[in-house]
């Protein structure tokens, strides 16, 4: 598919003299956007963001990029303003603007505001803009495009500011409750619970955090034979008899941004992408495989990241309401003091499984874009030392992501099954209510 660029700047350059149009090729190439996304992911990993916060770092830059990129085919793409909560109409570009360049710039500008290691974005942006200049980008086009990118970015950032993130930073911490049924910090770091007030964050498409609550968790009951106890034993038993494939699946979908290792006084951290980051990786694979254009690529990222963002809020709402204790806590307390889950238990309540909710919401969105019959080879985790895995569809991948939490020893079956349902509803709601095409 060829994309329809605004021809005006090209004409202008042509008119000047011996036009060097190599930069246009660079800008037209969707890999340009893919590379910027990858850079954002790398910084998210480096800076260490928790999964819900990482979903926020992904969503706003992609929305900003989309709100620019849609102008490449105004007849095809609809604005998200009016569709996302509180987002007012975004600016429109002038004639000289190269839409893709402006879109990238908006992406990088918003991204820079949300991550910590700003110089890592600056270095990337400067090198990239220099490359464009070296490949004939006229300074007028550059300045107009960056200015427009900036304009949209600042519109988005102003809107971002109202999402309650800043306020929730200093909300009271969770006071651990002593009753057995309730969540407690887990080994090895016994970190305090992550984002107990994430439900206060403004949802983008959902009416509220609690629009699609899962069915309540099983009643806490440690008597042998109770459904709850049986599910606990399932985690324990599976953990002891994992086969190679199950182990591989659990590790593949670990997606824990910060796993700490203790060797006596020595401590190490291994950092990986978050669950949301993994689905951004799948989006990259899908857009490449479908040979999506620059703007289609941006659209896919924007839609998927919005689904992830709302799904995290929905899931976190439930987590900090039901406050379900992690299997590791109960198993160490009652069954086996030395039992360790295959994966390090993440620092927040158990129910529902975050990966189950957000994977399903992302899969529903990607299926809506690329269809159900979309097999792909998931190489997202290769650079983190893991294998690649093949999936017949996005749904297939999301099913595996969900069950991986049981193999990993960090979730009961109820959190997986009900989490998938929750994600399905969130995903469907977003597909239904968010339209990028006219």
């Amino acid at each position: 598919m060829m994309k329809k660029l605004s021809l005006l700047p090209i004409l202008l350059v042509c008119l000047s003299c011996e036009p060097d149009l190599r930069y246009q090729k660079i800008l037209a190439d969707p890999e340009t956007y893919q590379s910027a996304m990858k850079r954002l992911t790398d910084i998210i990993v480096y800076d260490i963001f928790s999964p819900p916060v990482a979903s926020r770092v992904y969503v706003y830059p992609n929305i900003a990029a989309y709100e620019v990129a849609r102008h490449s085919s105004p007849e095809k793409y609809a604005s998200l303003s009016g569709q996302l909560a509180d987002l007012t109409e975004t600016p429109t570009p002038g004639d000289l603007v190269d839409i893709n360049l402006a879109s990238l710039h908006a992406f990088l500008t918003v991204g820079k505001a949300l991550i910590f290691s700003e110089e890592k974005i600056d270095n990337y942006a400067n090198a990239f803009y220099q490359k464009l200049t070296d490949h004939g980008l006229p300074s007028s086009v550059k300045s107009e495009s960056l200015a427009f990118g900036e304009q949209v970015a600042s519109h988005i950032l102003k809107w971002t500011d109202g999402d309650m993130y800043k306020q929730t930073r200093t909300y009271p911490k969770y006071t651990v409750r002593s009753e057995q049924a309730y969540w407690k910090p887990t080994p090895p770091d016994y970190m305090e619970g992550i984002e107990p007030h994430w439900r206060e964050i403004r949802t983008l498409v959902l009416d509220s955090a609690e629009q699609y609550p899962p069915i309540p968790p099983l009643p806490f009951d440690m008597t042998s034979g109770s459904t709850f106890h049986t599910q606990l034993m399932e985690v324990y038993d599976i953990g002891k008899s994992l086969d190679q494939e199950q182990t591989e699946i659990a590790e593949f979908w670990d997606c824990n941004p910060y796993v700490s290792h203790h060797r006596g006084h020595a401590m190490f951290a291994t950092k990986k992408i978050t669950p949301g980051g993994h689905w951004m990786g799948i989006t990259a694979i899908a857009t490449r495989q479908a040979e999506s254009s620059f703007d289609e690529t941006v659209e896919a990222y924007a839609r998927t990241s919005i689904a992830l963002f709302d799904a995290f809020i929905s899931c976190w709402d439930e987590k900090w309401k039901s406050l379900m204790v992690r299997p590791e806590t109960l198993i160490n307390e009652h069954l086996d003091e030395d039992w360790l889950p295959l994966l390090q238990t993440p620092p927040f309540p158990e129910y529902t499984s975050g990966h189950s909710v957000i994977s399903r919401a992302a899969a529903v969105t990607l299926t809506d874009i690329f269809g159900d019959d979309f097999s792909f080879n998931d190489t997202t985790e290769v650079e983190y030392g893991l294998t690649e895995r093949k999936f017949n569809s996005f749904m297939h991948a999301s099913e595996e992501a969900a069950i991986s939490r049981l193999y990993g020893g960090i979730h009961y079956m109820m959190a997986i099954e009900n989490g998938v349902d929750q994600g399905q509803k969130v995903g469907e709601h977003i597909v239904r209510n968010l339209k990028t095409r006219r």
Binding site: T170, P185, Y190, R263, M267, A269
Partner: protein, 1095 residues
């Protein structure tokens, strides 16, 4: 031109000369290997098979031993090499040594790991043997501990050794750290305690009850000497030998003066240190929790010796707290609040990651005074040795430290180590991966020396004493290598030749005298291990030393005792041998080595010492137990220096039912009723609950007859810092006394709402009835904002807000903690003395012109309580006030400033409290970066890594305009003090005795204890709700200060008066129960305790 060159040369020449003489002038000079002949280096080589990642103690280094191996009267040296060959050096005199390592045979194992060295007569033949600990059976290391029996000298006078561990049953296989040979059963032979460490390296901590499960390799061992062999008697000895035992330090001493040697074990990580009291029946009882309030956390080496010459043995235990601010801010520090509580719940003791110095207060009680003594932070520290290096009669300190890889560097953990991925960590490391461990920051630092200032403090003299060289020093000994009476220091270093520091004291200060004591013991303990020597000097000072040569870290000190006598040349000496035999010598001349022989000692005649009568006797619990509710303020105001929610209970006394017996009121914490204890004859009480109002946290109460109907009514103020605004639970309440029963009466008091600290009654308007001052402690949710205090005027039995006074003073008295009406200026109108947090001691004077406020100049402090008394008997009232004390990370005096900035620094509607300590012009943040980032998210973006945060100055980290606009508090002296009123009405401040500065003072009682007509002081306190970074304030046992005239208030040792108060004391009240004088001690979160008082 030429002239100038010449003069430059001259300058260099002179400078060079000065420099040389400077080095010679220092107390110690480091001798070169070429001079001493000691070239031993503990070479460490990381391999894929063994490195810091698969063996957590890879950087822990080796020990040193000193002992006269060939009996020539000179101390020889043994060095342990972790991986290479151990080394033996014979002392040839004049600080020259001959290497004779070959006497240990050839060790050609490919892999071994040796750690500590014990030198002792193991087989009773009179010659010193060597026992070297090893790590056995771990990864590819196979090994067992080695016992080198000294078989005597060859013709050249060189001692020859034979390895015979198996023969004696000492071929132990385990994770060895250090063995100690001492006579625990007092049968005159040497038994052995084997300290092992653990290699468990998962970060999880389990319930501490696995402490009782034996572990074959990590568990410690007690081996009884049965003549030919040693028998493992661990299992019934009361010694823990579990995988939790990360034993790195061990020391022996009779800490409770019962004649039986006790054991202190320092454990790394979350496991408690152990203090095993010898029960005298072959068993030990681990008693640390009853004797010591908190310990170091990552405990390493330790030493047990007397620092204040009171004859009681004190304990130094080392940790790894950086002294340097930047290093501190980039290292992992204390646990977050919740995790700390978790560990307590799991059965672990209070532990803080800093060096601890436990001062023995007698009666089996210790006060941890490392912070006020100035020795709490010496970086990654291994050996701590207490000995008298300057021969002034007081034990000084030497600390050997340094680590090749600072594994707790936060940038390393968070940003660098990620390059080693999980798979490689879990599996095998390759040589290539090892390069990643090389990226750990290095802590190569000078060793520390501290001079005892004779006032329970230590002065850092590292540079002045010549310890400027950076190193990784582990094991260390003090030893008089040249027999001149002063102590050389020897350290075993990683990747650098051992240090020999010659002590120049005797050369520089010939008038500093010494006495060295050697022993000729009973046959099976010929070197006299366990002997205790007490010197009494002509100035009445008492110097006590015990011969337990294993001290410090993985090392053995010589089998002789060293005494510095300062300028004195004679001493009376008493030696007590382990079995209790005693010999006394009078007028022993100084400057010699004296030999004490067991054969000359006789069974001790117990002197008929009069049973000492303590004024405080027979304590009992009255019944009321205050139970603090679990409200964690740090969860909503995480940057506050400490929680304000545990400042109760309220207490009041008075005869409420007019039966002639004093009755008591105790305020409950939130969710606990308040109680009346109505006294009946015979130590009995009728107990009445104030049932209805259990949501109130009652922190202050007074009995006053507000309506002049002849009975005592009750006014209660509640605090807790939980409810804000006009919450019903922060309303001041009045209860009418109706025939001994109390009913709340809202009509007799105007509705005022505050987080109360104090209700203070007085007839301040002199109209014949009681009025009130009600002090406000804080604004809940907004610590640091100034709350409004109130004056209430009694109008015909109804308390009404005194609009005028409240308007005038209500908002300028600060965060009030205590107040007292008194006639400070001597006129007939009562004045109000106010203590407040982060502010001055204030006096609201009242004279004919009205009221006026005076801040006592320079008195900015963290005041908790205030009392008055005419201590100097000049007819003018003086003020005594309880402050934070000196034993705190926040303690300041002498030009340092503790500062608090309060503002909403990120405009998100919540208030941040930024605490800094200004030292040498730099404002050092108290909070960690992680704590700060949680409140001020923008900091994380500004400083992604820890190093840049650590380097940044306060005004770079926080917006200067926000700092300028902040509410700002400054404190310049945190010592509890008396303010003596001069004739002109000014006040002169004199801090209370050092012992009264060990903790936060929260209750003071002024009373003439010795009936000399002068008021004395009893002060008590403690505070356990400070932030974890600050730690627990628990070193006070209640201090009695006797008025010695001349404005001196003299500390009376607790052992003398017999009062030992545990816990957090909020009120000390003298009363009369069962027609006897009694002291009531009211504590937070603990039962009320009563002491009978009198002789």
């Amino acid at each position: 031109m030429q002239r100038s060159i010449l003069s430059n040369w001259m300058f260099l020449l002179v400078g060079g000369l000065l420099l040389t003489s400077c080095i010679g002038d220092k107390r110690f000079s480091k001798l070169s290997a070429s001079k001493t002949g000691i070239a031993f280096t503990n070479e460490l080589k990381a391999t894929a098979d063994l490195n810091i990642i698969n063996y957590l103690y890879f950087f822990n280094g080796g020990g040193v031993g000193a002992g006269d191996l060939n009996g020539d009267g000179l101390q020889d040296l043994v060095f342990v090499s972790n991986q290479g060959e151990n080394a033996v050096y014979l002392n040839k005199g004049e600080l020259k040594f001959q290497g004779i390592s070959y006497v240990l045979g050839i060790d050609n194992r490919e892999m071994k790991w040796s750690t500590g060295i014990a030198i002792a007569v193991v087989n009773g033949d009179g010659r010193l043997d060597l026992y070297i600990s090893e790590v056995g059976s771990y990864l590819k290391i196979e090994g067992e501990n080695k016992l080198f029996i000294n078989t005597g000298n060859d013709k050249e006078g060189i001692p020859i050794f034979e390895e015979q561990a198996k023969k004696y049953g000492l071929d132990l296989v385990g994770f060895g750290t250090q063995a100690v040979f001492f006579d625990y059963d007092l049968d005159n032979d040497l038994d052995m305690y084997m300290l092992n460490h653990s290699v468990h390296s998962n970060g999880t901590f389990k319930r501490s009850d696995i402490r009782t499960e034996s572990h074959p390799l990590a568990g410690d061992r007690l081996m009884r000497n049965d003549g030919e062999r040693f028998t493992d008697v661990t299992s019934k000895s009361g010694i823990y030998n579990s995988a939790l035992g990360y034993g790195l330090g061990i020391g022996i001493s009779d800490v409770n003066q019962d004649g039986w040697p006790d054991i202190y074990v320092g454990n790394d990580f979350h496991e408690n240190d152990y203090l095993y009291l010898n029960q005298g029946d072959g068993t030990f009882k681990e008693s640390l929790g009853e004797m010591i309030k908190h310990t170091s956390r990552f405990s390493m080496g330790n030493d047990l010796a007397d620092i204040n010459n009171d004859g009681l043995i004190d304990i130094l235990s080392l940790d790894m707290l950086p002294r340097d601010y930047e290093k501190l801010k980039s290292s992992a520090g204390e646990d977050p609040y919740d995790i700390y509580q978790y560990k307590l719940k799991y059965g672990y003791h209070d532990q803080h990651s800093r060096n601890t110095l436990q001062l023995n207060r007698g009666n089996g009680k210790f006060s941890e005074i490392g912070l006020s003594a100035g020795v709490s932070a010496t970086d990654w520290s291994w050996s701590g040795l207490m000995a008298d290096f300057d021969l002034d009669g007081f034990n000084d300190m030497f600390i050997a430290n340094g680590i090749i890889g600072r594994t707790n560097d936060l940038d390393y953990i968070n940003f660098i180590s990620n390059e080693v991925n999980q798979q490689r960590l879990a599996g095998d490391l390759t040589e290539k991966d090892l390069s990643l461990t090389n990226k750990m920051p290095v802590v190569e630092v000078p060793n520390y020396a501290f001079r005892n200032n004779r006032e329970l403090g230590f002065e850092s003299v590292s540079m002045a004493w010549g310890f400027e060289q950076k190193s990784f020093s582990n094991g260390a000994v003090y030893v008089d290598l040249d027999n001149d009476g002063d102590l050389e220091i020897v350290t075993n270093n990683i990747n650098e030749p051992a240090f020999i520091f010659k002590n120049n004291t005797r050369e520089r200060v010939p008038e500093a005298h010494f006495l060295t004591v050697r022993f000729e013991g009973p046959p099976s303990n010929p070197w006299g291990v366990g002997a205790r020597v007490e010197l009494t000097l002509s100035d009445d000072s008492n110097l006590v030393r015990e011969l337990f040569p294993v001290r410090g870290y993985q090392s053995t000190q010589p089998h002789e005792l060293y005494f510095g006598l300062d300028s004195l040349t004679k001493a009376d000496l008493k030696v007590t041998w382990p079995d209790g035999r005693v010999e006394k010598l009078s007028n022993v001349e100084s400057d010699q080595t004296i030999y004490l022989s067991y054969t000359k000692a006789k069974a001790d005649v117990i002197e008929n010492s009069e049973a000492q009568l303590h004024p405080f006797q027979e304590s009992w619990e009255m019944g009321f137990e205050h139970k603090e509710n679990n409200f964690i303020e740090f969860h909503r105001e995480s940057l506050i220096p400490g929680m304000l929610s545990a400042e109760g209970p309220a207490f009041a006394q008075g005869d409420v039912n007019e039966d002639g017996l004093i009755d008591y009121f105790f305020g409950g914490a939130k969710n606990q009723p308040s109680y009346f204890y109505l006294q009946l004859p015979g130590k009995k009480f009728e107990i009445k609950k104030l049932d209805d109002d259990i949501r109130y946290e009652d922190v202050s109460a007074v009995f006053v007859d507000h309506d002049k109907d002849g009975d005592l009514d009750l006014v209660i103020g509640s605090g807790g810092n939980e409810f804000s605004g006009e919450s019903p639970f922060s309303e001041l309440r009045l209860y009418q006394n109706v025939s001994g029963t109390f009913f709340r009466d809202t009509s007799a008091i105007e509705s005022i709402f505050l987080n109360t600290s104090i209700v203070a009654p007085a007839d301040y308007d002199l109209d014949g009835d009681f009025d009130l001052f009600v002090g406000a402690r804080s604004v809940p949710w907004k610590y640091g904002f100034v709350p409004e205090s109130y004056f209430l005027k009694n109008e015909n039995g109804v308390f009404q807000k005194d609009q005028e006074l409240t308007a005038q003073f209500g908002k300028i008295l600060g965060m009030v903690t205590d107040a007292k009406w008194a006639h400070i200026d001597g006129n007939r109108k009562p004045d109000l003395v106010v203590a407040s947090d982060w502010s001055t001691i204030k006096v609201v004077y009242q004279d004919n012109d009205g009221f006026s406020l005076t801040n006592l100049m320079g008195s900015e402090g963290l005041w908790n309580c205030v009392e008055v008394g005419d201590f100097d008997a000049d007819g003018k009232l003086d003020i005594v006030a309880g402050n934070l004390g000196s034993n705190s990370k926040l303690a300041v005096s002498d030009g340092e400033i503790l500062r608090l900035y309060v503002n909403d620094f990120d405009d998100n509607g919540s208030v941040e409290q930024i605490m800094v300590i200004e030292k040498e012009g730099r404002e050092e943040l108290f909070t960690t970066k992680d704590e700060l980032v949680k409140q001020l998210n923008f900091i994380k973006k500004k400083y992604v890594d820890y190093a840049s945060f650590a380097q940044a100055h306060l005004h770079e980290i926080l917006p200067p305009e926000k700092l300028n606009a902040a509410i700002k508090y400054e404190v310049r002296d945190t010592r509890s003090s008396i303010f003596f009123q001069e004739h002109n009405g000014d006040f002169s401040r004199i801090p209370l005795a050092n012992e009264a500065q060990f903790s936060s003072i929260q209750a003071i009682n002024v009373r003439d204890f010795n009936f000399d007509g002068l008021p004395d002081i009893m002060a008590a306190g403690n505070y356990s709700r400070a932030s974890i970074q600050r730690g627990k304030y628990d070193a006070s046992y209640g201090e009695v200060l006797m008025n010695w005239t001349n404005r001196e208030m003299k500390y009376i040792p607790n052992a003398t008066h017999g009062l030992y108060l545990d816990g957090e004391i909020r009120h000390l009240a003298f009363t009369n129960i069962d027609r006897t004088n009694a002291l009531i001690v009211v504590k937070n979160d603990a039962p009320v305790q009563v002491f009978r008082f009198g002789l």
